[in-house]
Structures are given as structure tokens and as C-alpha cells.
Symmetry: C2
Subunit: 364 residues, 2 copies
């Protein structure tokens, strides 16, 4: 498998199936792990980082689960290909640009700020599993699932983590748990999140109240592309804040319980809107569909906003001819790097707006 | 023929053909005439107004040209039917409500302000000719033609006026010409106008300059529904200001000459926009089309604005599947009274928005 094979493939997490698929786009669990006896990436010398990558690849090849996965060294990838991987949620923005996120961007660093040296990503079949090497931590293991499937994601992730451990002894403290470059990840090294589509909580202006309550109860809310990104398209990524002093199962149970409440509130908002102003809601949905089907120039932002309404239309049965998975896929395929990979050549922003509009017209 | 027969009929002036049909929606010429020996409508007693109506109907029946036309007394029509006639440009708003426009709304009136007593309209086959009785003047004769057909309209109107004169001696002064209720119409009693569609002069922000110049040269600019109405849908009704001290032919020649210049400027603006930003223009046109084809609730105003872009799309060949005449017809059929006549019952505003959206979806 090569990177280009991904272009026409739909990642597992975009299928649109799974529990509560009409509200929960995807569930994601990731673990931060570091190899013992090796400095964290930002404090490592280039040879030390290269050694970590070498050992990580050996670990991957020795894992029954990850065997045959695609290993991509970022240094060998164009800027476009790296952005493509970000858009697919396979690597972080920081990994793509060679920067470091979080508290790890401190002094004493050996690596230059923009180094993509010895950075890599391992992508499994159907993009269920990805593993970033030499991001903020030596290893960032992630499992993405479609729908509200946190437990299933955790089962897969857990198995993979154990397999890797046989070859790669992790930095672990009996007192603190797994050690990580940034103290916010110490302990379990776990971050679990769900991507929720909450258009009706936004329309009924309840979203701020809900997010405020959720934050008070220990969750973090982010946008479609993680930390620091805005909530476009009514998508909200909710994740646990704390990874220390609590077990993995407790993190997941707590998150699941709170997310369920958010789901119920979105369901109630959908019902209320349908009861009180079905015509106006259907009008908004069909207008969004009509614009996507007709525009000849359209920006990425407008596309996400309109696709959000179309996804709601599909989920409410207003647009019966369209499949949720297809709409999910369009969210990703209309992103800048995806458009350019589909076209097979670099496109300037206005060429992208035209190409994006054509893709949408042809697809809807 | 009855009023209901008009509902599914397309008036001659909406056909979308005729010279410069891509810019000139219609040409209209009207003459104000009053019967000699009878006071102007606003100063007439009810019996005097009734007598004028009786004589006017005799005149119509004696005219070869108008024989068989529909004669509608406004008193016998519902408010809806009267609005329907306004929307079709067959009668004025003042005629529909029983008011008086212009300087005639002075003191000394015998008629009550809202009287529709003895008011009528005569409508010929295909709505080419209409004749208002007891509006501001005893007779207001109008001919509407599709496209830039002022001369043709004038030939028809002239013939009709002469035919009527045989039975109905007009109030005429050798010094002033035809006498009218409002001094602005004295002389020829003629008002000639064209309805121009000028979307690209609006888009390129040249419209104010053009209208300013036109006004200085003796023309008046009005909106889609005449005096006091705003220019919605990029439609501008340009007409002569002066009717006194100048012959009918001079009025028409002067108007034609100036309108030709406006047409040329709109043509230049269209060419420039196509050259400089074809993609953006096509995008606006297709989005308008997409919204009209998808909306489930739409106001009359938004409809006119979007249909304006669709008409431009048809005229530029961007939307090749649609006929100009059909778009013209939709401008009228989506008006409130037309919707209710089509539906066969009164509709409240939000019912109209839904019915209008359905009509547009079904038609486009």
C-alpha cells in the first residue's frame, strides 16, 4: 500500500456506521508511549531520534497486528502529502510541520524547530490504526472507529500496545505510570475522544451551555482538527482532560457517560426543531444541498458548513437518497490537499474552489 | 374570457422575444385621455363617473380592435383579484385600491378616497392592450409589448386611440393639447417606458451613474411596479418625464435613443464581467438557480433577486436548458396574488412562501 492508494479509499472511521452514527462521527483513543533509556524527541540528538525510529519500525514489523502496515517517513514526503495525512486525521499538524506541541517546546532542545528528521507515521489497513513516531513522544498510538465505539477502539489499541511492548520497553515509573514529554499526558498516556455532530444544539443556541457543563466535568472541547482549531461544521471533538491517577477504563467510562448526555441533548434539540419548525429546518437543509449541487466556486469553510446541514438532512431522513458515509467522505475529500491529490497536481486556491465545486456537483 | 383564464396565460409582454429581449423585458406606451364635457374622476359625482364608464364601454364595443375584450368592473372584484391585475401590470395600484395618484389628490373631490365605484379595466386578447376607466383620468390606454418594441406599441395604441375617439370626443385644447387631471400629463398625455434588466450595471456599481445621467436627460427611473416602488431584481422602468410641447414621435425617438445607450452600457458590463470574472459570475448564477430549485420556503423578494440572476444566466447562455419566457413568467407567477389564484384559495404569508418554493422547484 502506498500513500496514493489512500486517495480513493474511505477510512474506517468515515463509514458513518456504528452506534449513534447519526450524531457521533467517530471515536478515537490514543496512547502516548516513550522508549526507556532514550531522551524525548525534542531533547534527542538526530542520531538518537534515528535510533528510536529504527527500533519503532522493528517493533511494527514484529507485531502481528501491524505487520504489512504502511510506514511513511515524513522527510520523504512533500508538503502536500503531509497535509493530506493531517486532513485524514492520521497525523497531527505538529508532526506534519516538524514542530512540537504542548509544554515540550521548552529550552534545551537538540532538534531544530522545524525538523522532520526521523519522524514517521505507520498506517494500518483501512486506517483503523495509526502510529506517529518522534512526534512529541516517541510513539503516539491511535485507533479511530466509526460511531460511538470507544470500547472497541480501546480493545484494538490495548492489544497493539501490548504487542509493541514486547520489542519496545516503555519508559514507565511505578509512581507516575507511563512517562511522557508533556506532563499533561503522564500516567495512562491516554486521550480518548469522540467527534460529535451537534448542529441542532448550535441552532437552538444551547451549545455553549452544554460545552460549559462538559468542561466543568473534566472534558475538553475542540474543533474538527484538534487543539486550537475552531468548531466548523458543527463538529465538536470532546476528550478527557486528565490522564493521571485514574485507570484507562475509568477514563473511558467517564467519557462515555458524559458523551451519552450530550447525545441525548442533541437528540432532544433535533426533535424540538422538527416539531416546532420542520419547514424552516427542511428549507435550510435543502438550500444547503442546492448550493452544494450548484456552486461553481466554493471555499473549504463554506463546504463544511453546508455539508453539515446536508448530513443533518440525511440523519433526519429529509434527504433519503444520500448515504451518510458518502457525506462523511466529502468532508475529507473537499479539503485542500485531498483535492490536489485527486487532481494529481498542485492547485492554487481559486483553482481549488472550482475543483471542489465540481467534485461536489458530481457527487451529490 | 374571464379573469381566471389569465392565471395560466402568459401575457404577450412576458414572451421574452422582441428586439434586445436579453435586456429589454418589455416596452409600454400609454395615453391619458378624458371625455369632453365631463369632470375629471376625482371631481366627478358618482352618477357622472358612472356615465363615463357607460360611455367608455360603448366606445370599446364600437371599436373593431377592442371588440371581445374583457371588461372588468373593479367593484365586483375581490381584493385578491385586484392585486392579481396589478401584478400583471394591467392596472395601477391606485386603480386597485380606489385611490388617486399624482397631483390630482387635491381638495374639492366628490369621490371618497377609497371608492372603486365605476372603475373598470378593459383587457384585450393576450393582454397586449389594457384600458383603465376612471383612474386618475377617464381613460388610460396602455399597450405592452415584449422586448424593445416601442414603435410597434405606439402603432397599436395610436390605432386604438383613434378608433375610440370616433365614439368618445376627447377633452382637447388647441393651446395645451389633451387635457388631463394632473398637469404633468397635459399635452400628448403620453408616457412611454421600457422595463430594462440591468444586473451587470448593478454588479459593477455603474448603475447610479447611468441613472443619474439618464435623469438629467429627461427620463424617469422607477422599479418593477412603477412610481414609488424600488428596483428589485435589477429591473428598471425608464420613461419620459415630459409630455408637453413635444410630439409623440419625438418622445419615442428621444426615449429610444437614450435607452439604446443604456442597453449598450449593460452589454459592455456583461462582456467585461465575462472577460474578467466569468467563473465568479457563473458561480453566482448557478447558486441562484440551485437555491430556487431547492428552497422549501422563499419570500417574494428573494425570488425576484434570484430569478434576476437566473434570467441573466439564460441570456448569457450559462443556463442553456431554460427559456427566457419561462423565467419571465415565473417573476409574475410567484407574486402573492398569482400564487393564491393558482392555488385557488387565500394563503397566509408563510403558506405562500412554501407554495412559491414548490412552484419554483417544479418549474426549474
Amino acid at each position: 500500500m502506498t500513500l496514493s492508494d489512500l486517495v480513493h479509499q474511505t477510512g474506517e472511521w468515515l463509514r458513518g456506521s456504528g452506534p449513534h452514527g447519526e450524531i457521533v462521527m467517530s471515536a478515537r483513543v490514543r496512547l502516548a508511549r516513550n522508549l526507556s533509556q532514550a531522551p524525548f524527541p525534542q531533547w534527542a540528538t538526530p542520531p538518537q531520534r534515528a535510533e528510536v525510529l529504527k527500533r519503532a519500525v522493528e517493533g511494527v514489523n514484529g507485531s502481528a497486528f501491524l505487520k504489512g502496515s504502511m510506514v511513511l517517513e515524513l522527510k520523504g514526503l512533500s508538503e502536500l502529502d503531509r497535509l493530506f495525512l493531517v486532513e485524514r486525521h492520521l497525523i497531527s499538524r505538529e508532526h506534519a510541520t516538524g514542530g512540537f506541541s504542548g509544554a515540550a517546546s521548552a529550552s534545551g532542545s537538540h532538534a531544530t524547530a522545524n525538523s522532520t528528521d526521523s519522524r514517521a507515521v505507520v498506517v494500518s489497513d483501512r486506517e483503523i490504526v495509526s502510529l506517529m513516531v518522534n512526534e512529541e513522544d516517541h510513539l503516539r498510538l491511535q485507533v479511530l472507529q466509526s460511531g460511538f465505539n470507544l470500547q472497541e477502539a480501546w480493545v484494538i489499541l490495548n492489544r497493539m500496545e501490548e504487542e509493541l511492548e514486547r520489542k519496545l520497553p516503555y519508559a514507565f515509573s511505578a509512581e507516575w505510570g507511563y512517562l511522557t514529554a508533556c506532563p499533561t499526558n503522564v500516567g495512562t498516556g491516554m486521550r480518548a475522544s469522540t467527534m460529535l455532530h451537534l448542529p441542532c444544539l448550535v441552532m437552538t443556541k444551547q451549545i455553549n451551555r452544554v460545552l460549559h457543563a462538559i468542561t466543568k466535568l473534566g472534558l475538553t472541547a475542540r474543533g474538527l482538527y484538534g487543539e486550537g482549531t475552531e468548531a466548523t461544521g458543527n463538529f465538536f471533538q470532546l476528550s478527557n482532560q486528565v490522564s493521571l491517577g485514574i485507570s484507562e477504563e475509568e477514563i473511558l467510562d467517564n467519557l462515555e457517560r458524559l458523551i451519552k448526555q450530550v447525545i441525548e441533548q442533541e437528540e432532544a434539540a433535533r426533535k424540538a426543531l422538527l416539531n416546532q419548525s420542520r419547514e424552516a429546518l427542511e428549507d435550510r437543509i435543502w438550500r444547503a444541498y442546492g448550493t452544494l449541487k450548484s456552486a461553481h466556486l466554493i471555499t473549504s469553510n463554506e463546504t463544511v458548513e453546508l455539508l453539515s446541514l446536508v448530513r443533518l438532512g440525511v440523519d433526519l431522513g429529509v434527504i433519503p437518497t444520500l448515504e451518510r458515509g458518502r457525506v462523511n467522505q466529502l468532508f475529507i475529500q473537499t479539503q485542500p490537499a485531498h483535492l490536489q491529490k485527486l487532481e494529481g497536481r498542485p492547485l492554487n486556491p481559486s483553482e481549488r474552489d472550482a475543483r471542489r465545486a465540481k467534485l461536489l456537483r458530481d457527487s451529490l
